[in-house]
Subunit: 457 residues, 2 copies
């Protein structure tokens, strides 16, 4: 108790410096999807290593076939559990740039929020755990648990080299539980622990028609139009009830229990302000489920981007030579990503108009996960979050995907505590991404308490 | 007869210079859709004026609310018909640039073809009539008919200011018949006169969903996706038989006569090499009609371009905030463009998913036209084309749209002779647009003979 009080005091004294260091981190445009940012990726990895060393851990960059992984550890706690902390230092592309109020890589504080690409996803959230280690080390001189940090740089492009890293360093990474802060609280003042995540598949489909763009007057009516063909394919993905129409798509889905549906219904979720915050007049999705159920526990199929033909100013009367669709499905427990991709490919092939050829690229996939609500680690996390945010957490699911949770289970054999410090209003993956400073500080405090709570069980 | 022989000799002697002057014309990137090319538009208009003066006509630039119209005339032929020649000096955007073998505005001759944006559409074809005037003036010192040239700079963006020009100068433009060379021969060695054109409507539809791009995991399943919504709208435009599904779309269509269908069937059209030239394995379109019938005399509905969400490298897991579709319908005789646009707007509105808002922009429209096959002007044109190309023309329709033909009929009360010197293989509106030099020279000769033939009737 003595120790945690000193830690809390240290956190208060150093709060402003922590924010300044996060701002420095956010100035690095470590966009993993765009090769031009390769040097920034390196810079961000070096920044994380320096932070870990400053906190009192040993730290190094481990090369991969892609971006380096930062590995840091402190393992001198005897007879104490070992916690693996995962996070990522790469960020989403900032497009569309013209919609940012302040530039995405010039972190700016407005009304208690820090605005920048990566503020909440995941630089700000991830940094909380390094800062909590620092607080223990600078006050107690040690941690009550052993910690191993794995901070990667390819989360936003599919974590393609992480599984190999986990497999190659399986012995070194031995641990009792994993911790990730890359999700959201239920809302401001309603901290949450996320016990379920959706999975994902992501593909890119290119439909090719004529050798080159054709005059739509001279040739229109004689050959299939790849843009119209793309629309036919996309439209076929849903039926009129908003259900995904790919054959067998729902076959493996584990339905929500009546108890889960009841718990969801009790949460302080109001549809009207939610829709208002998104700028949408009416909800839409699979019929027969509530909005929270559809977001957290039902699979979806969304176009993320598409392009075909002339997209400049004014008209251009052509039949485009090709069209490209980027598509993701969100998956729920027991759906097999590979099986879904295969069904989608087959289904897409069947939708093609005569004379249209399809190219199909499978980006990455991950199954959904649901965690044990009653493990001792989950109990420790509940106490820690309550300490950090001043009120006990609600237990929720989340619609996003963190593929590494599946990898930790499969390769390292451990469950993951999903302790999200962010908010759904943080605009992650969107313009004007931000992180509330009180959530940043609450997250650091919760993390610091987690080390103590885990040691106590 | 004496006079036309001297003209023919002049054309042979000056053939190389004519090509050089066309190349100079094609070096001017007069792209009307892109505001950045405004100075080039002016430059191209000045070039046309200089050509007309060099040919012996008076010529001036007439300002409009948009790009200037070049007006030139020679009207000293007593008791002779007056011919209005229409053409355009603006060109389509050259995109996609990376598919050009040589740059679009660096005219290059390869194997008897002159490659450049605008080579056939319409700079090369239009110039033939100025050169034929020059030949008469430099040899006979006069023309056997009166000529009035109207060369505009907004054909590729809807000719928005032409009708007002025609109305304001109706008296000045009084004529007996109009001539336009902006269509194609039936094929190499098979010259043609086009007696029918399809009409057009062009619109841009923007579908708006959430205020900004959303994370597809966190929010997916709760709101309609504007890209999926666009696909639903586009897909709904056709039924499974390839017919346009907009209510009432075919109500006003005048069916092809049995005689026309028989004539079309006799033309030397082979589907296999046609498809091969386009790089397409199978034809596609409205069932129950031949490929020529579908191209020339059946209405269509094609996406010309669409864009939504993230279209860069790799995946980005978002629900896009909006999607944009550029769409054209080709119309056939008796379809009313305004009525079609209204039906399309209403139909599109009905396809919207909940929470999606539509913006609908109507670019421009023009009805289809069919010309009198038996007028004296048509007889003169048949003789002239036969003289220019060495073989009598076939009578065809064309799938493209030349809205001004309808305006000439409506405002000036005259029919139009559509004398196309180009080929369908000229790649108009596509990368590597070209014009066969023999078609350029054949066109000049046919035009020179047309002045004589028209005077003789």
């Amino acid at each position: 108790m003595q120790e945690i009080r000193a830690v809390d005091t240290y956190l208060r004294s150093n709060a402003n410096r922590f924010v300044a260091e996060l701002q420095e981190f956010l100035r690095i445009p470590s966009v993993s999807a765009q090769p031009v940012h390769k040097p920034d990726i390196r810079k961000a990895a070096e920044f994380v290593r320096a932070q870990c060393k400053q906190a009192g851990m040993s730290a190094k960059l481990v090369p991969t076939a892609g971006n380096p992984i930062v590995y840091a550890e402190w393992t001198k706690a005897k007879n104490a559990p070992t916690v693996l902390v995962y996070g990522h230092y790469d960020v989403q592309p900032p497009d569309p740039l013209d919609q940012w109020e302040t530039p995405p890589f010039e972190p700016t504080i407005r009304k208690g929020r820090l605005y920048a690409r990566g503020a909440t996803d995941d630089k700000g959230q991830m940094l909380t755990h390094i800062k909590s280690v620092e607080a223990w080390m600078k006050t107690a001189g040690s941690l009550p648990v052993n910690v191993k940090f794995v901070i990667e740089g390819e989360e936003e492009v599919g974590s393609n080299n992480l599984d190999l890293f986990l497999k190659e360093h399986k012995a070194k990474l031995k641990c009792d539980v994993a911790v990730i802060s890359d999700t959201a609280q239920f809302g401001p003042g309603v901290p949450a622990i996320t016990y379920g995540l959706r999975g994902i598949i992501a593909v890119e489909i290119t439909l090719k028609g004529p050798r080159q763009d054709l005059h739509s007057g001279v040739f229109g009516g004689s050959v299939a139009n790849p843009a119209n063909a793309a629309a036919k394919l996309i439209a076929a993905l849903h039926d009129d009830a908003g259900r995904v129409h790919i054959p067998g798509f729902y076959d493996d889905v584990i339905p929500l229990t009546a108890a889960e549906r009841a718990e969801f219904a009790k949460l302080p979720f109001k549809e009207a302000p939610y829709l208002k915050s998104l700028g949408v007049a009416k909800p839409h999705g699979e019929s027969g489920f509530s909005t929270l159920e559809r977001r957290w526990a039902r699979p979806t199929c969304d176009v993320n981007g598409m392009i075909s033909g002339y997209t400049g100013v004014g008209p251009k009367t052509i039949i485009p030579a090709q069209s490209t669709i980027k598509l993701t499905c969100r998956l729920v427990p027991n759906q097999n990503p590979k099986r879904v991709v295969d069904s989608l490919r087959k289904f897409a092939q069947q939708q093609l108009l005569p004379g249209i050829r399809m190219e199909f690229q499978d980006f990455h996939g991950a199954p959904a996960v649901v965690c044990d609500l009653n493990s001792p680690y989950m109990q420790a996390a509940r106490e820690a979050v309550a300490a950090g945010f001043g009120t006990p957490p609600v237990m929720i699911r989340e619609g996003g995907s963190i593929p590494v949770v599946g990898s930790f289970k499969q390769i390292l054999g451990v469950d993951t505590l999903l302790l999200g410090w962010g908010q759904n209003s943080d605009n992650l993956h969107s313009p004007n991404e931000s992180f509330r400073l009180e959530d940043f500080h609450g997250g650091i405090k919760a993390s610091a308490h987690l080390w103590g709570e885990l040691a106590a069980r």
